[in-house]
């Protein structure tokens, strides 16, 4: 008994008091700050990028593809790509994830999540999601689990991951969607009652990530469904997830 009290006392209070204000320390790689005017067009970044996320004219990075490996930043001789530690990068629009340096991180965040009245009305105080890992490597899965741990504790906002799609308001997908998992993903979606949303977490779910182009994938599901929220990362950081969802529903 005394040992347990000692442990409790030693732990103190662990929850992040305000997740909307929390920062992730450097060298975390979040929103990239791009300066096309410095770019000497050597092409090194595009050569080393494992996922083809970088375009040249204008210099831009697709955060839906990027795995935040940092190789382009390290090898760019002109320092025209610099990753900031800004993590609130989720967006309701796929195109919006392509950043070209014309916006600061704050400006990016302001326009990233489109506020929809009906979403706020229906899901504003409670959002239950069914997570489907469709060939996710267990990186995003660990981070989604962390969203519910004592540090991030997204349950305090009424956001939970539930055991059955029948109890859910939507599907939260991780992984590049393997052909072997595609039918089960479709089943889980069909079992979720309307109205429902679809959220993609991680570069694999959004674009296939490092697995894009693999003949073992079947991403047709995404073509058939409206995607409501994109959460970039490799893996997604819990603060990106929690803030992205909060912006979307609150």
């Amino acid at each position: 008994m005394f040992e347990i009290l000692k442990i409790r006392k030693n732990q103190g209070h662990q929850a992040i008091p305000d997740v909307t204000k929390a920062e992730i320390r450097r060298p975390f790689r979040g929103f990239p700050s791009l300066d096309g005017s410095k770019c000497g067009r050597c092409g090194v970044c595009r050569e080393v990028c494992p996922v083809g996320a970088i375009s040249a004219k204008p210099l831009s990075i697709d955060l839906g593809k990027c795995v935040f490996c940092g190789d382009c930043e390290r090898l760019c001789p002109e320092k025209s790509i610099v990753f900031t530690n800004f993590h609130k990068i989720a967006s309701t629009s796929r195109e919006y994830l392509i950043v070209d340096g014309s916006k600061t991180a704050d400006e990016y965040q302001d326009g990233a999540v489109e506020a929809r009245k009906e979403i706020k009305r229906i899901f504003g105080s409670s959002l239950k999601l069914r997570q489907v890992s469709a060939a996710g490597c267990n990186g995003c899965e660990w981070e989604l689990n962390a969203c519910g741990n004592p540090n991030f504790d997204m349950g305090r906002f009424g956001i939970d991951i539930v055991a059955s799609p029948r109890h859910a308001d939507g599907i939260l997908i991780t992984g590049p969607i393997s052909a072997n998992m595609a039918p089960a993903l479709e089943d889980a979606y069909m079992c979720t009652p309307d109205p429902k949303i679809v959220v993609l977490a991680g570069s694999c779910a959004i674009s296939g990530g490092v697995f894009q182009g693999s003949p073992a994938l079947n991403r047709e599901f995404l073509g058939r469904r409206k995607i409501d929220l994109y959460i970039p990362g490799c893996p997604v950081h819990p603060l990106t997830v929690v803030n992205g969802i909060l912006r979307f529903i609150k």
Partner: protein
């Protein structure tokens, strides 16, 4: 010479690998396995009109690897090795699925991952030949592929008599992404990134295996400092997952304090790793030729402080948890894999060590800095959930001790990263590391011009999934989650 003898990360020329008929290779393998050698890799490669089968056996006490090959006859079948050397069971299944070469008399010849490039397209997941039982008291429980929690997909089929599990069959393949195939096609651009994603909870373990293989083929020895950074990250990865799993085990026995405390302790470990490399999972740190991030004196100081706290917090919580009668009553004698079964199945990593099977690549086939700072192998005997949980606790402390000692002795040599020379052509290298789940094996083969023509990956899960199925036999079905967590295997690592 029937075998060529080499070591972890020491390439051999393909033409120097002895070649014989498949029957002869089979009897060679059986003989060597009786002498105590152990299979670590087994795969086929096209050779002329036929297929050559490569077998890699380990002599763990001597830190040696033995490689030989057998040329397949026209009938594309041979007498199965499994009945004589049971550890081959999963390797022969894999070979059969990949190439269609039939091991005649294999007792359990079923699909492993249903890859897109499997030999027999008629063998589908829908048609999986589940083992069935009949009888009035027998019932089946089917779980997955989508599970209740946030975990990867897989299908479990329990054959129960009342509450007791008589047999569990685990059907995998849902996670197949075609990694080995992508590796060959894209390794120049994204090899290391693919390696980091083979199993996203074992980023450093697989990335190191890949990088070691590439460096060995290029004949590059990376700096001591870079080797230390890799090993420190590998031990951080091990400690973080083990702590997280102790929390998950606590959760499964409704010991919620343990779940909460281990959860935040794990956070501290991975946030500390982020301070080094920007990723809580160590992504972006290991690259071919070294590592990208370095320890500054300030960072070493911070790591020391944080890890000492992690050590204390873990010890405080674990000592309390492993004293608790209500916890022990669930862990003791649950999910037992005895030593003989562990050897026969070929369990690796902490799961094997918990059953008294003392294998650890860091000690047996040391790589990188472990060649100079060896790890002491630890084992337990009871082979139950308790042993698999307690083993994790032992290893957390061992990992933190190792890291703290590295900080005392970390070399100051440079560069941290060096460019790789061209790969030696027509060669084969076996690269092994000890991930937190156990033995990781990557085999890379180069062609005429030095490009990678074959890449074979073995995650420890490939062998250990069968151990989980065995562990739940004759246990109550309600103890399955507990057994499962004590192994915590990778679906992606199996499905590739």
């Amino acid at each position: 010479m029937k075998w060529i003898n080499t070591k972890n990360n020491r390439p051999v020329r393909i033409k120097d690998v002895p070649e014989m008929g498949m029957d002869e290779l089979r009897s060679q393998i059986i003989r060597r396995c009786r002498e105590g050698r152990r299979v670590v890799s087994f795969f086929g490669m096209p050779k002329g009109q036929s297929t050559a089968i490569y077998a890699v056996l380990a002599d763990d006490d001597a830190s040696r690897l033995y490689i030989s090959s057998g040329l397949m006859g026209k009938d594309r079948r041979y007498q199965s090795i499994t009945p004589e050397a049971p550890r081959f069971h999963i390797f022969e299944r894999e070979l059969f699925e990949d190439t269609g070469i039939l091991p005649e008399g294999h007792p359990w010849l079923k699909g492993v991952r249903f890859g897109h490039d499997r030999a027999d397209r008629e063998s589908t997941m829908e048609r999986y030949p589940f083992f069935t039982m009949k009888g009035e008291e027998v019932h089946e429980v089917a779980v997955g592929p989508v599970h209740a929690g946030v975990i990867e997909p897989g299908h479990f089929r329990f054959m129960c008599q009342g509450e007791d599990v008589h047999h569990l069959e685990i059907q995998l393949g849902y996670q197949h992404r075609g990694v080995e195939d992508l590796m060959i096609r894209n390794y120049r651009r994204s090899g290391i990134h693919l390696a980091e994603s083979i199993a996203g909870d074992t980023v450093i373990g697989h990335a190191t295996a890949y990088a070691d293989a590439m460096e060995a083929l290029a004949g590059t020895e990376i700096s001591r400092r870079a080797q230390s950074v890799r090993a420190i990250a590998l031990e951080m990865e091990r400690a973080a997952i083990h702590i997280g799993d102790l929390g998950a085990i606590a959760n499964d026995v409704a010991y919620l304090l343990g779940n909460a405390v281990f959860g935040v302790t794990r956070t501290l470990v991975i946030n500390t790793l982020l301070a080094l490399c920007g990723s809580r999972f160590g992504r972006g740190l290991v690259r071919e030729g070294g590592v990208v991030f370095d320890f500054t004196p300030d960072l070493i100081k911070e790591f020391r402080e944080k890890l000492n706290k992690v050590y204390r917090d873990t010890e405080l919580m674990a000592e309390e948890m492993f004293e608790s009668a209500s916890v022990l009553s669930r862990l003791d004698n649950t999910g037992v894999v005895d030593a003989e079964a562990a050897r026969n199945i070929g369990l690796v990593g902490p799961a094997g060590r918990a059953s008294g099977f003392s294998l650890d690549v860091r000690a047996d086939h040391p790589f990188g800095i472990y060649r100079f700072y060896p790890i002491h192998k630890r084992t337990m005997n009871s082979g139950d959930v308790f042993a698999r949980a307690y083993m994790r606790y032992i290893e957390i402390k061992q990992s933190i001790d190792f890291i703290l000692e590295q900080f005392e002795s970390i070399a100051d040599d440079r560069p941290l990263m060096q460019p790789l020379k061209k790969h030696v052509p027509d060669s084969l290298v076996v690269s092994m590391t000890e991930g937190w789940r156990g033995e990781i094996v990557h085999c890379a083969v180069t062609g005429k011009k030095g490009g990678i023509v074959k890449y074979k990956i073995k995650d420890p899960s490939l062998q250990n999934w069968y151990g989980l199925a065995y562990a739940v036999r004759n246990n109550g079905i309600s103890d399955f989650p507990l057994c499962n967590k004590s192994f915590n295997l990778s679906y992606c690592g199996n499905d590739l």
